[in-house]
């Protein structure tokens, strides 16, 4: 469950960002119950001031430990419990981004996120113990995927069913309300005119709604997943620069890693280590292959970079490099559109000499033969 391990690392800083306003208030001598709050239930335990404050600091420390993977299970569970406890203290604490954070932390708390990319795993190796099995039941991951898709689906559906939203009234009024800020922004004049044009919103609103629904559905299908991930990143960056959404953008982009196929090292990269360019690519791979998608082996001297995909298709040269970059979390957003370039696409479809090999390495037929 490499993706859960990576999500665990990414969520640590997000939890700290989430806790920051609570901790800042605490340092100013203020906690939630010093001002208006609304408990969900009278039986929900409210802690003494000192204990509550300490708990918030414990959560911050646990988030750091969760991120680095020290006493990972305990740290992750503690982070989840404190963040969830704090969320449900008052109706005023609940926002969509915080609810999503609690869901993701719950998924990590029940999922096997501690077995790799952690200090625990490193210490285990130092003690001479064999690494723990990284195979695990997939249900926590599937639940997280369901929840992640629900966030987009529920949001898109609510807008689709709302005539004001789908018709563009809501987005138009929101822009008009902050027109002064839009005018002062570095946007060019034509963009400001467009954004403050009512008919533009009639179409823009539909694009927004359909984008959310596309992400919700597209993430489930392998053929559309790359596009859905790419669109989701654009979508969250646009939200981040145009609205105040606390940690939602960071959270949602981080959570995209759960859509990586949970098998690891099932793509083989053949490199000629005598080539400086290949060595550079290998170094980049070792540093950035956080989802452990590639296994690097020695290729024949003078041969181009070759990648055997998990379905057996082989890529050579530039298409192979593009495929590698499109599967690394940090470069994926830039490289994914390149998969649509004619040269790369032709190779991907196997019409440029691409061949399929079975898992054992034996050929099962050329792509041209398949197409035929």
């Amino acid at each position: 469950m490499r993706s859960l391990a990576l999500l665990r690392i990414l969520l640590g800083p997000v939890v700290l960002l989430h806790l920051r306003p609570f901790l800042t208030d605490l340092l100013d001598g203020h906690i939630y119950r010093d001002s208006f709050h609304e408990p969900y239930a009278s039986w929900y335990p409210e802690l003494p001031r000192l204990v509550y404050g300490s708990l918030l600091w414990v959560a911050a420390i646990a988030a750091v430990m969760m991120s680095v993977g020290l006493l990972t299970r305990v740290a992750t569970t503690t982070t989840f419990l404190v963040v969830a406890y704090n969320l449900f203290l008052s109706t005023t604490h609940v926002h969509n981004n915080r609810a999503y954070l609690v869901i993701l932390l719950a998924g990590l708390a029940i999922g096997p996120c501690d077995r790799e990319l952690s200090v625990d795993a490193w210490l285990r190796g130092r003690r001479g113990l064999p690494p723990r099995d990284t195979d695990a039941p997939g249900w926590p991951l599937w639940l997280l995927r369901f929840e992640a898709a629900t966030v987009y689906g529920a949001s898109g559906l609510s807008k689709l069913l709302d005539a004001d939203w789908f018709g563009g009234t809501v987005t138009y009024l929101r822009v008009i309300e902050v027109r002064d800020r839009v005018m002062e922004s570095p946007l060019p004049g034509w963009a400001v005119s467009l954004l403050t044009d009512r008919p533009f919103h009639t179409y823009a609103a539909k694009v927004i709604v359909l984008t959310e629904l596309f992400i919700a559905v597209g993430l489930w299908c392998r053929r559309t997943r790359d596009a859905a991930v790419w669109v989701a990143v654009c979508f969250h960056v646009a939200i981040q620069v145009s609205a105040s959404v606390e940690v939602f953008s960071y959270l949602a982009i981080a959570a995209l890693v759960i859509w990586a196929v949970p098998s690891t090292r099932d793509r083989v990269v053949e490199l000629d280590r005598t080539s400086r360019a290949h060595r550079r690519l290998e170094a980049g791979l070792r540093a950035l292959d956080w989802l452990a998608r590639f296994r690097v082996v020695d290729g024949p001297p003078g041969a181009p970079v070759t990648v055997a995909d998990r379905d057996g298709a082989r890529f050579r040269g530039r298409p192979a490099v593009v495929l590698v970059l499109s599967r690394l979390p940090i470069t994926a957003w830039f490289a994914l559109p390149c998969l649509l370039l004619p040269g790369v696409r032709r190779d991907r479809d196997g019409r440029n000499g691409g061949t399929r090999v079975d898992k054992a390495g034996g050929r099962v037929g050329s792509a041209a033969a398949r197409a035929g």
């Binding site: 001002s35 969509n96 369901f146 529920a154 929101r174």
Partner: protein
């Protein structure tokens, strides 16, 4: 010869139950979001462009109506009610999570202030006259009162 019956372990059954329960709960919360004031886990983002403002007064035992912008008995409204756009209700605000949600918070805030200002011995109740603009609809008006405060007058 003993017949082999494949057994599904308790653990597997428990996992399936958890998955089904979580899915049902999440779907239920999404549906609830269409009828509830507070839409927890319904993920309705940026639901409205609605706006609201409220003139809030303290109504004393003598019938005086005193705006809460004026401090009283050592209290300040903006210190008692922070966040959710409630600190300065006299200014027009965007209803971040929808008008119903915002008005529910305002109603709860009036009650909270009424019950948590023990030094105040003159206020009978708080009253808010709310103006609400649902998206581009014409404004509507509503008066909300807090609970009556005990032992006043």
């Amino acid at each position: 010869m003993r017949r082999y019956v494949p057994a599904i372990s308790v653990r597997v059954v428990a996992r399936r139950v958890v998955v089904v329960l979580v899915v049902l709960l999440q779907v239920g919360l999404v549906v609830r979001g269409y009828v509830a004031d507070h839409r927890e886990f319904a993920f309705q983002m940026f639901p409205e462009a609605s706006r609201w403002e409220a003139d809030i007064v303290r109504v004393t035992a003598g019938g005086e109506r005193i705006p809460v912008e004026r401090p009283w008995a050592g209290y300040r409204w903006e210190e008692l009610v922070r966040g959710r756009g409630l600190g300065y209700p006299g200014a027009r605000h965007h209803a971040d999570a929808g008008l119903d949600n915002q008005i529910a918070f305002l109603r709860a805030a009036l009650d909270w202030v009424a019950h948590n200002t023990p030094r105040d011995r003159e206020t009978r109740y708080l009253e808010a006259r709310v103006t609400r603009w649902h998206n581009d609809d014409p404004p509507t008006f509503e008066t909300i009162r807090s609970d009556e405060r005990a032992g006043v007058g």
